[in-house]
Symmetry: C2
Subunit: 203 residues, 2 copies
């Protein structure tokens, strides 16, 4: 079975403050075509290392073998932040790909048009712990892995080590557990990130 | 092993005559963000049924279970058109998902910026044969399954029957044979089609 864990892209979808809005022009008549304008970090998307460090890897060069493979979805419905202390009670060890389902998941169900600055993100100590533990792809259901108002330290730590970040997942319908991740960012040449279609396949 | 069979999206990528060009604005400085404008049929992309028939299924509603699964890549390097007669000599029967590798594949390698109106497409009799044989997803390495200057009959036949069309594949490096298709169109709400990231996984 496949879960589609992608937010639908539309002009009303919540976006990061300051990010370009999604716009669509409906063209054609007998034959329908449309023109979409969207930011590289719109909706469900991947951050590439160059997002925070010029000259680092761009999204089109990420290794497909890391985008597709075994992953674990961890359920953290009650925490305001994912810290090292929170992770201490979770079975995350040994996984290269980890996705966090938090209270953000329900927010997307209730109103996908609203950006909530109180969304759940990771603390730097959690990021450092996961990095040291061998995580290579990290996904969350907030529009950023890093809490709003952060100084970028979480991004710099993870992206600087080549960890692929997957943000804006729609996880409300997904039971925690192990899956095969199919993470497919658009192949935008030279880009800092890209909107993605993401599926979770039951094992 | 995974093959990435996606054309890189850039402002120089060849496009269908009349389709919106790809444009990119590089924003940000310390933190890189970009804004992309692109047509729903840019580069490697999926056609949804509503592309040729208002009210039919949109790309965001296509069944993920059809986008992911067993497929066969057939090699037709020498034909100017894929006709029913051509298919008679090919082992396509029994597959729900079929991808055609033609001389178009080499064209993308030689110069991805040029739209070649002589690209290889399907004749209507081939489309009818495949449809009757149970094909539900059809992929080609041209920007359209239908030859340039066609009247839309191939599209109408296939899309009208709910067949998913996958166009603009980059197949030059892929040996013919059987794979697991991972076809991931962007989840563009209400759209006639969407740029896609597509992988082929060896079995």
């Amino acid at each position: 079975m496949l879960y589609d864990v992608t937010l639908p892209v539309s002009s009303t979808l919540a976006r990061w403050p300051g990010d370009p809005p999604v716009a669509v022009d409906w063209l054609g008549d007998d034959i329908r075509v449309s023109r979409w304008t969207l930011g590289s970090h719109a909706g469900t998307h991947v951050d590439a290392p160059t997002h925070f460090s010029a000259g680092d890897a761009t999204v089109d060069t990420l290794d497909p073998a890391m985008l597709v493979g075994p992953c674990r979805v961890l359920d953290l419905p009650d925490v305001p932040r994912i810290t090292a202390a929170v992770l201490a009670g979770q079975p995350w060890q040994g996984m290269e790909r980890l996705l966090f389902r938090t209270r953000n998941a329900q927010g997307w169900v209730e109103d996908p048009t609203v950006f909530d600055p109180e969304f759940v993100g990771l603390s730097r100590d959690a990021a450092a712990l996961l990095l040291a533990g061998g995580v290579r792809l990290l996904g969350t259901d907030g529009l950023s892995v890093e809490p709003f108002g952060g100084d970028g330290a979480v991004h710099r730590l993870l992206l600087g080590a080549g960890v692929i970040l997957l943000e804006g997942l729609a996880l409300a319908a997904v039971p925690p557990g192990d899956y095969t991740l199919l993470c497919a960012p658009l192949k935008l040449a030279g880009a800092d990130g890209a909107p993605a279609r993401v599926f979770l396949q039951t094992i």
